[in-house]
């Protein structure tokens, strides 16, 4: 809307362009819709070039997405292992069987404890004798060197590493207990390893996302420069930067939309592929593990990320280059 000449125009009686604010508001969306469709049409006119960029976007996102699926499954597995925590409580040797039973009952009634198993010294010795290979050598022992052992399994709420550790400390402070152990080291190591893998995958993902932004940005930059003359003419007849930018932003948007779908498909194919070998692998261990693919929520996130990257890439290009083109 011209703001400089309205008075002059009215004075001359020329018909001014009359568009109400409501109309202008409505037309903004109609225009956006038209430009969105227009840029989609533009993509279909250069299918090969567009497809290349879209494929780069989609496939670049496939790697982080697949890694995410792997990490997700690893986390699920390690969570299962996590919950297998057991605490071994070694009791003082001078306790009478009666005292051991009382103590066991007391532990069993603790809120944190799910169940308690008693391995008394005789049973322990028998088991040791059977499994250790020392066999008859043990018969020479004057007395049973083994203490009574309670195997304490915490309730589900107390199976995490920190909680189980707390329970362990409580148990160690009991009068009847010499020591208690929780084999946490390997669990902590596993979790640390998973974290290392997670972090390196996240860094890799971030790197790929940056590459995607740059690639989209560069493609859009070329598109802008290709239409340099057209942009100049549009500026000459009064187009705002925003109006000129919109089709390019929509191009980035469509890159993201289609690139996201490509990432889904490629990830799904890869997951199915890996899954086949995992099923084979786990069948050797007589277990039926299989990979969890992308959930609906994951797919939505991947899609939004793809669209976001497309938009950011085109926005960077548009910011820099549309305003730089001035009519000559």
């Amino acid at each position: 809307m011209g703001f400089l000449m309205r008075k002059a125009e009215q004075r001359k009686g020329a018909k001014a362009v009359k568009i109400s604010p409501w109309r202008r508001f409505l037309m903004f969306f109609v225009n956006n819709f038209q430009q969105a469709l227009g840029s989609l049409g533009e993509l279909s006119r250069t299918p090969m070039a567009s497809l290349m960029t879209i494929a780069v976007l989609g496939l670049s996102l496939t790697l982080p997405t697949t890694l995410y699926v792997v990490v997700k499954n690893a986390q699920a597995i390690s969570a299962e292992w996590d919950s297998a925590a057991e605490i071994n409580v070694f009791l003082r040797k001078e306790l009478s069987p009666q005292e051991v039973q009382t103590f066991r009952e007391r532990i069993r009634l603790m809120a944190e404890v799910d169940r308690v198993e008693l391995i008394d010294k005789e049973a322990g010795l028998a088991e040791f004798q059977a499994n250790s290979g020392f066999g008859s050598a043990i018969d020479y022992l004057q007395e049973n060197p083994l203490p009574d052992v309670l195997i304490v399994v915490p309730t589900a709420d107390f199976q995490s590493v920190e909680r189980a550790q707390m329970l362990l400390t409580t148990l160690e402070q009991e009068r009847e207990v010499t020591s208690a152990s929780l084999d946490l080291k390997w669990l902590e190591r596993l979790q640390a390893l998973v974290r290392v893998v997670e972090n390196s995958f996240a860094a890799l993902g971030l790197l790929l996302c940056t590459a995607v932004v740059l690639i989209v940005g560069n493609t859009i930059r070329l598109a802008i420069l290709n239409r340099r003359d057209e942009i100049m003419i549009m500026k000459l007849v009064g187009a705002t930067d925003a109006y000129i930018q919109r089709p390019f932003l929509y191009t980035g948007f469509w890159y993201g939309v289609v690139g996201g779908i490509i990432a889904w498909l490629a990830t799904t194919i890869i997951v199915i592929w890996i899954d086949a070998s995992i099923v084979q692998f786990s069948s050797l261990y007589e277990s039926d593990m299989s990979l969890q693919g992308l959930s609906l929520h994951d797919m939505l996130v991947v899609w939004l990320v793809a669209i976001g990257l497309g938009l950011i890439g085109s926005w960077i290009a548009v910011r820099r280059h549309v305003s730089a083109i001035e009519p000559k």
Binding site: A14, M27, M234
Partner: protein, 233 residues
Amino acid sequence: MIRFEQVSKTYPGGFQALNRVNFHVAAGELAFLTGHSGAGKSTLLRLVALMERPTLGRVLINGHDLNKISRRQVPYLRRDIGMIFQDHRLLMDKTVFDNVALPLYIEGYTQSEARKRVQAALDKVGLGGQERKYPIMLSGGEQQRVGIARAIVNKPPLLLADEPTGNLDPSLSLEIMNLFESFHQVGVSVLIATHDLALVARMRHRNLVLRNGAMIDDGLASGAYEPLDEESF
């Protein structure tokens, strides 16, 4: 309508295109801008359309100081100025209709709403019925008229033309000039830069003459209807 006050324009590198130019073109007036190549005609028009900013001095349009127009406001100013170029600056991959409708699309018209105005503009320049052709299918003179139709389609109060007849033969040039004359008659201010002095002489309008960036004749002292001869350059 257009007022220049002590306007100088020096390009980076030191070339002085305009030197302390003063003139005033009234609303509804038609004026020619003449001078040899490189005298500063194009620069002067570019200052009006805000494609350049003056180094010194003020350009006022309808009383508004262009120095105070921010970059964001420039597109809105340009919507009130119809611009015509020697090379017409048409979009070659768009139809005549879409070319002429471009300023209307930018202002938020739909295609169906723009139709009436586009048709009126094309009728005005004598190209009725050619809407669906592409510019490449038209002759040079017709392309120039498409450019004019685009410039007038949203009825701007000011028309600027930079060598609009530069590539045309004399009879076509006269036709184009008559078109500008007709816009002038309905109250549009028109400023035409040209080096076609014969044509200027025939048209009998005010003639602003530039030489080496200075305005040596603003067409008032010598009389608006006095034809200028070749010696004055």
